[in-house]
Assembly symmetry: C2
Homo-oligomer: 385 residues x 2
């Protein structure tokens, strides 16, 4: 096990009828900006419930945050916040709204130049406005971590940033609000959480048996509960489990003392930036490719995964690994998430475009033991043509 630090001060409030606790979490007298997305919260009633809970505060609204939230949109919110002297940001929605809110909170107080540098150059954030979240959609885990991913539309660039200032003060997790989610979003959420776990788990053995078992616990629970929610997002008893899995998948618990990979995300981000493929779908494409490209290097963990998550016990090591990859692909595709580039009408040109962009950016080998060279990126994507 590596040395590590773990710190996660987010207060989680989870379950039914929890919005009544919202006003207890925000200092009175604060001027609040309520940030949301495309308006689904108006259809499912959450919008009205939040405003009602905040009736004693002054609230400004900022809607229209996109999936893969745009830098350009976020900067419009920053402008209003400065003008209106907003003191607290409340994100209501899913991971995109929360990610945007984290960036808005940091950009508002950033005074070391262009806020785009926070993303493109990972300059240091020294303060953020306080934020809280009301989560209506299980997927990214952003409600309980300090990460955020933002896309600059004008240049097709997608970058992330991390700072402890981004931790929400609180997150109210509302499984009931997710009851009206379309299947596609549920499927994306399941795969997103699944691959978050994989990026922290499927590297190499590093004497962290508890962290391994926790990771496998989340995967097993996603495989068990995910399809129930996919079939019926109003299945509250399954939704609570999917939602808690998605949060635990990326709140730092399973990464304590182990090295991560995250190459699937880095490559996937380019597929989203160029071709606007849903984030989770890009992960479902890239993951099997990376495993095929690095089946020897990741052999020990792939075999552990085959055994403990898919109960694969028969066959040679190679056969077990093949089966584990196939099981994973079948799981994704059972949620109607295709794993081949061709299903998204992409061919070798897309592979070249991504490899070229990484080359332009002077890509150095990244991820698990710096195994992900440009050659591996190309190979992984070619496996998925």
């Amino acid at each position: 096990m590596n040395n590590f630090e773990f710190y996660n001060p987010v207060k989680i409030i989870f379950g039914k009828d929890q919005l009544k606790k919202l006003p207890l979490q925000i200092p009175s007298g604060q001027k609040i900006m309520m940030i949301y997305g495309g308006g689904s919260i108006k259809k499912n009633g959450i919008y009205t419930q939040v405003l009602s809970a905040l009736r004693d505060y002054q609230v400004i609204e900022f809607g229209g945050i996109e999936p893969n939230p745009h830098y350009e949109t976020a900067m419009k919110a920053v402008e209003i916040i400065k003008k209106e002297n907003v003191g607290f940001l409340l994100a209501v929605g899913g991971g995109s709204v929360i990610d945007a809110t984290k960036f808005i909170a940091a950009a508002t107080l950033y005074n070391a130049g262009d806020p785009w540098d926070i993303l493109a150059k990972n300059t240091v954030v020294k303060a953020s406005l306080p934020i809280g979240t009301v989560l209506t959609l299980p997927a990214t885990g952003s409600e309980m971590n300090m990460g955020s991913v933002i896309t600059r539309k004008s240049t097709n660039e997608k970058f992330s940033f991390l700072t402890p200032f981004s931790f929400p003060k609180f997150s109210i997790l509302m499984p009931e609000a997710a009851a009206s989610l379309p299947q596609r979003q549920v499927a994306n959420g399941i795969v997103d959480a699944y691959v978050h776990v994989i990026e922290q788990y499927l590297t190499y053995p590093s004497n962290a048996p508890l962290q391994d078992r926790f990771a496998e616990s989340i995967l097993l629970t996603l495989i068990e509960e995910g399809p129930k929610v996919y079939l019926n997002s109003a299945d509250y008893n399954a939704m609570v489990n999917l939602m808690w899995c998605a949060t635990m998948a990326l709140n730092g618990t399973i990464s304590c003392g182990v090295s991560g990979d995250w190459s699937v995300h880095m490559i996937g981000h380019e597929l989203t930036a160029f071709y606007e493929i849903d984030h989770a779908r890009t992960l479902a494409i890239v993951l099997p490719g990376i495993w095929k490209a690095l089946r020897n290097e990741k052999k020990e963990k792939l075999l552990q995964y085959a055994n403990r998550v898919w109960n694969i016990v028969d066959g040679s090591d190679d056969e077990k690994i093949d089966k584990a990859i196939q099981k994973t692909v079948d799981f994704f595709e059972s949620l109607e998430i295709p794993t081949k580039l061709s299903s998204y009408n992409l061919d070798t040109n897309a592979v070249n475009r991504i490899v070229d962009r990484f080359e332009e950016r002077k890509w150095k080998a990244i991820g698990d033991r710096q195994l992900i060279t440009l050659e591996v990126v190309r190979k992984a994507l070619e496996f998925q043509l």
Copy 2:
């Protein structure tokens, strides 16, 4: 799954050579009281290392915290703190030292009457001095939670209290410092962590598959890694896992959304208060008795435990439960922790004494679904004669 709140702001710093980060955690200019136990930290060098890390601070020492720390001793520290204007408390040692420090921190700022009320009447704590910990011994999990258990020597009473003010600001976990632990303390730590998990897990099914799997993950890892540390406390690679298991066992993660039991602890506390039996040993005595007394009521979870933790698949339900209880007893006894009252030279008189005390206190049924009536307490203890 029940509604729940989860909040744990303790910063964990884990691994080798981490004491160098100690001065970064405490605001400069603070007058620190360093609180420790019987002096083992002087033998293993931690004492000197801590003082050296704190050379730029004014440090007062307070040693001599007992196992099952005494209220009387804690109150002596409170007196000195008030006189000397101490602003920060640093606990260096194991769970007893940390528990004492939590109480000292709260008692110092308590101004609603006799601080004993915090324990005996669970009066509300409205402030505590800030505390940090340097953990040298895996066991209680106190380094990452808000609980504390204190014994009043003069009356043989042992009580606990909980307040968010008790969360340490940071805890430096030092597996290397535990390398010189005597076997008895290692064994106690393993059993303590094990029973902490059981108290939160072995109740009844409540649609919390992830929490269940996390709990089973800790149990499996304790069974796997614990004996290695027991045989050789200098086995760093096993010690890291034992230490992290003990912390995760009681930091709130596995209790999210589920009901606990905690009757084993409540009964065990009386065995310690009357007969000075090590805390963990009292748990090892009481747990099998409770399971035997409530084998029907806890049947579903006992069968799940038998299957997932001990891989027991053959036999009738009753046989599986018998085997699971026996496996648990064997595990405790393999660590030289006897599970029968007779091994501690106790007989029916002890059973009567405990039941009488509970009766005096107007005991109401407690624990898992309020199943633990006075009759169950008697039955459980009689099984262990």
